[in-house]
């Protein structure tokens, strides 16, 4: 069975190098400061550390007051998973550091989030719309987008 790695272990690993980067945590997930997300991901990927070499998926959720970006991580070698999250407050000009330098799989997934949720990723080399066409008005997965 793929275990869910204890949150305390992930916190310990990150705070060793990046103190004060964790905002809060519950029994499954950890919320990281937006500016630290790239550094924290690099720490989590280290093969001699927690070895999260596989980024399962990046999801974005619109909670109206803020957006939440969720990173589902898996270590194939050690067969466990972990969840880290980032909160972005506001509605306009949202930016977050891209993790494409750490996991190349972020390429298309970050483009999808920009397209449908309107969150920009700093450092992404080709941040264009992916499912909709350039010039489309709005970001349809946002809760205030009604369509028609």
């Amino acid at each position: 069975m793929t275990e869910i790695l204890a949150v305390s272990k992930i916190i310990e690993e990150i705070t060793n190098e990046l103190p004060d980067s964790i905002i809060k945590s519950d029994d499954k997930s950890i919320w990281i400061r937006p500016d630290d997300i790239k550094k924290a991901c690099a720490i989590l990927k280290k093969p001699d550390g927690l070895d999260f070499a596989f980024l399962t998926s990046i999801s974005a959720v619109d909670y109206i007051e803020y957006f939440e970006i969720v990173y589902h991580l898996t270590s194939m070698r050690k067969n466990y998973s972990g969840i880290i999250k980032v909160k972005c407050y506001g509605r306009n000009n949202l930016t977050l550091p891209s993790v494409i330098d750490i996991w190349k799989t972020a390429d298309l997934q970050e483009r999808e989030i920009w397209d449908l949720m309107g969150i920009q990723f700093e450092g992404h080399p080709n941040l264009k719309r992916i499912l909709l066409w350039e010039g489309f008005d709005g970001h349809p997965l946002r809760k205030d987008y009604l369509g028609n």
């Binding site: 399962t56 959720v61 194939m76 969840i83 298309l108 349809p140």
Partner: protein
């Protein structure tokens, strides 16, 4: 020929092209015949499934999942209903779990047959191998028709079990199919796997190393062809897979041939799984007592299954209402397209089609 300067030419492949398996466009730049740059363009089939899911109740969304990977609806159904069950704490009767595994494995065979047939079609073995592959796929679709009346968009599974029990006709037909399939797969293997033209066109073409495969988030037969032994049915056994004995085939080099061969081997393993399910299955209920309007407690969950294309996951968030607050799909076809450029750079025009065919994308799932 050295010394002759060539001008780079940009060619547009698709969106309407028989080898792109749907409306998919590739903007490729060639230097002579060599690929020096490429960019996939898609979204032509985008229907906003994730947005639609937010306005439908948990039971209705099953029909939306059919229309994502439309050559493997059963796997989509399974991934979705498992996530809803996990979110709302529904226990599924054992008989239903066995039927669901049988269906998922039949669907895997059908999907892999289609991938294999179209790959050979792309290589240039026009139509003949495709018809061989479709012959058996047709029998599987007939079985699905006996189960639920539909052949492609099945919606057979429900949160809590399946729509109805399989009748005796289904079991009889399944027995016959299971006896025939190993011979048929051997036939396919002798016809294709040692064929000189197939070997020449696929060996060492579009190699993806194991490290790259993990880094690019690739899953399914492509990942296993790159020598990574990762299969969610083994790594994180869901339903009743922990009671089943089967192997996880892996490739040698990570080339196009391995991707195609891993699929052939996987079909044989699927037959083994179905055989064991038939002997283990017992009489009983096929559906838990689940209301039509499901109201899970506020919370979230991510569950995934090993679909024919790779890890198919759903990330559902509930706010306590009858529809999910957010329904995100981790679509394997979509993410498997990430290393496209890496695999294709430096190869020739003819290899482009072969490599794309070996990835086995379904545009309904890529665009959602």
């Amino acid at each position: 020929m050295t010394g002759i300067r060539t001008e780079p030419v940009t060619v547009n492949l698709g969106p309407q092209h028989p080898s792109t398996h749907g409306v998919f466009r590739l903007r490729v730049t060639f230097d002579g015949e060599e690929i020096i740059d490429l960019e996939p363009v898609f979204g032509y089939l985008h229907r906003g499934t994730e947005k639609l899911a937010e306005t439908r109740n948990y039971t209705q969304i099953v029909t939306l999942t059919d229309r994502m990977d439309y050559v493997a609806s059963m796997s989509n159904n399974l991934a979705y209903v498992r996530t809803v069950e996990d979110l709302s704490g529904i226990e599924v009767p054992e008989r239903a779990q066995y039927i669901r595994v049988i269906c998922a494995e039949l669907q895997r065979i059908a999907s892999h047959l289609m991938a294999t047939g179209f790959l050979l079609n792309d290589i240039g073995a026009l139509a003949t191998p495709l018809i061989y592959c479709f012959r058996e796929r047709e029998k599987i679709l007939d079985l699905f028709e006996m189960l639920c009346g539909a052949r492609i968009t099945l919606s057979y599974m429900r949160p809590g079990g399946v729509f109805q029990d399989a009748d005796q006709d289904f079991w009889n037909a399944l027995d016959i199919l299971i006896q025939e399939l190993p011979h048929y797969l051997d036939e396919l293997e002798t016809l294709i796997s040692k064929n000189e033209i197939v070997l020449a066109r696929t060996r060492s073409v579009g190699v993806l190393s194991d490290e790259d495969a993990i880094d690019y988030g690739v899953t399914g037969p492509i990942l296993r062809a790159s020598r990574v032994k990762w299969d969610l049915r083994k790594a994180n056994p869901y339903e009743i897979y922990d009671r089943i004995d089967f192997e996880v085939p892996i490739g040698v080099e990570g080339d196009t041939y391995d991707r195609f061969h891993v699929r052939l081997l996987e079909m044989q393993e699927s037959v083994k799984i179905i055989t064991q399910c038939i002997t283990q299955i017992e009489k009983g209920s096929i559906r838990a007592d689940v209301p039509y309007f499901i109201r899970p407690k506020p919370g979230e969950t991510y569950q995934s299954v090993e679909g024919p294309k790779g890890e198919l996951g759903f990330y559902l968030i509930s706010d306590g209402g009858v529809s999910p607050y957010r329904c995100k799909v981790r679509a394997p076809s979509f993410i498997n397209l990430t290393p496209l450029k890496k695999m294709m750079l430096g190869w020739k025009m003819g290899d482009l089609i072969t490599i794309l065919g070996s990835i086995d994308i379904v545009l309904g799932e890529v665009d959602r």
